[in-house]
Amino acid sequence: MATIPGQLIWEIVKKNNSFLVKEFGNGTASVKFSKEPNNLYNLHSYKHSGLANKKTVTIQPGKDQSVLLATTKTKKQNKPSTLLNKSLMRKEFNRMAKAVVNQVADNHYRPDLKKAALARLSVVNRSLKVSKSGAKKKNRQRIIA
């Protein structure tokens, strides 16, 4: 499959795509979010986009109290079902943080996403601690783990 470069994909996708969420604020202020699963900050931008990059990182809550860390494989871009290296992590936070850093930065996978990955890890972790009372919210970003 011809690997269409990320820049080209971004040019096509940046104006309009099904994951784009525009929030309007005071006057002309607005933020653009993105709901795709491979986006660490959920921001609509080239760097964070899960669509336009060959290498992406994602951190999500997995099955009961575990965190799913997934990276995309560069060689399998056109095979969506086997695209991700998934790993469920059930350790304590420090260990998980170390694992994330190893995967993301230390092996030069996407060192510019290190801070984002750690931030997301801590938020996801915290959300798992909170006992879910009330209506169950569907995780729309869920990668089927």
Partner: protein, 464 residues
């Protein structure tokens, strides 16, 4: 993309019903060049917009609407507006305004005509380019995801299914096929999204809306697959030689999820040709070329060829210093004009000298007065006059004996007793005062018209 040798292989997904005739070797088809064509969302949007106008049916208002009256204006003079009014009587309608777009029951402004230009012509090459772009985009998972299809479970894009799929007869079997190849979530999404349309369309025979699911493309005419798949909500079917842009890029958005059968996939090369080979089915048509063969900017920028010629990054950003006013800030002035220091110093000294010189000059002109004089000035005018008189007299009699001084030659109303030394002092001061006041009075007189007072001048003159 270059039409070079490397044509990646696409594995054909086998279904349960497949006779494993080809054995262990994974069925794979080389990727047709169509999938490598340039993706041009701008062309697709344009062509899609034009083509979607071609299925329109004309609408118009009736020809005679609003004119089926014999209305005439009443003219002026009847205290009503001059709009044509319906003639006759005996009914509400009589006398009402007619014919105008502003009148009730009148004809509308610019009544719609059926000869409006409903359809649009698009150049054949443009149409083909759009279709080719859309096919290429359907092979990029990011774009298909961005369009909103659920393809996380799809094993490979572009998704090619073995020819056994074309023989599927029953819809239930078709659903099973979809499940096997991971296309079921997309079809499910379409089914779940069926809803009543918002807006007036629901009353105009467009009641329901739903999302689009996968597009199944087959190669053999009359394949049973058509009947099996067509009733599944969201799923659409198309024959390879008749691919429709409106189906490949619904809404003008690239990236429809397409399921190809093996037969259809192999036909693509002959229908659209390759970058070198002319298409067989389309007369003289060659696939369009992209503006950039390698559009991967990151790789180009980081490549050896570019990096070896590029200058190093400027890490230090030079910031302009704040401008300071040399007229106010001495150091900045000296940076510009070093002589300014010397010039300033000389100016200061000169100024000091000038001030001193002036002060000296003034001091000289203004004599310092002693205590006696101050006392003298403090005396009242009246007393001063008499003291003055006395001194004049004393000066006249300066040669006479002192004793005679004590003898009041003139009868002074107030006896003034003064010591000898004081008298001498007073005589010196008196002469100074004398001359000063003489000149002062002279100027006074010359300034004013004080010429009649000759006694005074005579008196002054006598004292000399």
């Amino acid at each position: 993309m270059s039409a070079a040798a490397a044509r990646p292989l696409v594995t054909v997904q086998s279904l349960e019903s497949d006779m494993a005739t080809d054995g262990a070797a994974a069925n794979s088809v080389p990727l047709p060049d169509v999938m490598r064509a340039a993706i041009r969302p701008d062309i697709v949007t344009f062509v899609h917009g034009q083509i979607s106008k071609n299925a329109r049916q004309p609408y118009a208002v009736s020809n005679r609407a609003g004119h089926q009256t014999s209305a005439e204006s009443w003219g002026t003079g009847r205290a009503v507006s001059r709009i044509p009014r319906v003639a006759g009587g005996g009914t509400h309608r009589a006398g009402q305004g007619a014919f105008g777009n502003m009148c009730r029951g009148g004809r509308m402004f610019a009544p719609t005509k059926i000869w409006r230009r409903w359809h649009r012509q698009v150049n054949v090459t443009q149409k083909r380019h759009a279709v080719v772009s859309a096919i290429a985009a359907s092979a990029v998972p990011s774009l298909v995801l961005a369009r909103g299809h659920k393809i996380e479970e799809v094993p490979e894009l572009p998704l090619v299914v073995s020819d056994a799929a074309e023989a599927v007869e029953k819809t239930s079997a078709a659903l099973k096929v979809l499940k096997q190849i991971g296309a079921h979530p997309d079809a499910e999404k379409a089914k779940d999204s069926q809803a009543i349309r918002a807006g007036k369309g629901k009353a105009r025979n467009r009641r329901y809306v739903s999302r689009k699911g996968p597009l199944v493309v087959y190669g053999n005419e009359g394949a049973k697959l058509v009947k099996a798949f067509r009733n599944i909500p969201g799923v659409e079917i198309a024959h390879v030689s008749r691919l429709n842009l409106l189906k490949l890029a619904p809404g003008g958005h690239l990236g429809r999820f397409v399921i190809w059968t093996k037969y259809a996939f192999e036909k693509l090369d002959s229908i659209y040709g390759t970058f070198d080979k002319v298409s067989e089915k389309k007369n003289g048509y060659v696939l369009p070329r992209a503006k950039m063969i390698n559009a991967d900017l990151a790789r180009i920028i980081n490549s050896d060829e570019v990096q070896s010629v590029v200058k190093p990054i400027k890490k230090e950003v030079k910031k302009a210093p704040l401008k300071k006013n040399p007229l106010k800030n001495l150091n900045v002035m000296l940076k510009l004009n070093p002589y300014a220091k010397a010039a300033k110093r000389m100016a200061l000294l000169a100024e000091a000298q000038r001030v001193k010189a002036k002060q000296d000059k003034l001091d000289k002109k203004r004599k310092p007065i002693t205590k006696i004089i101050t006392y003298f000035c403090c005396l009242s005018m009246h007393l001063r006059f008499w003291v003055y008189l006395y001194f004049i007299g004393s000066l006249l009699l300066v040669s006479q004996s002192r004793a005679s001084l004590m003898q009041p030659g003139w009868k002074l109303p107030c006896p003034v007793y003064l010591s000898h030394s004081v008298i001498c002092l007073l005589q010196e001061e008196a002469s100074a005062i004398n001359s000063a006041s003489k000149s002062w009075y002279k100027t006074m007189i010359s300034d004013s018209d004080y010429t009649e007072f000759e006694n005074f001048t005579k008196w002054l003159g006598a004292s000399q």
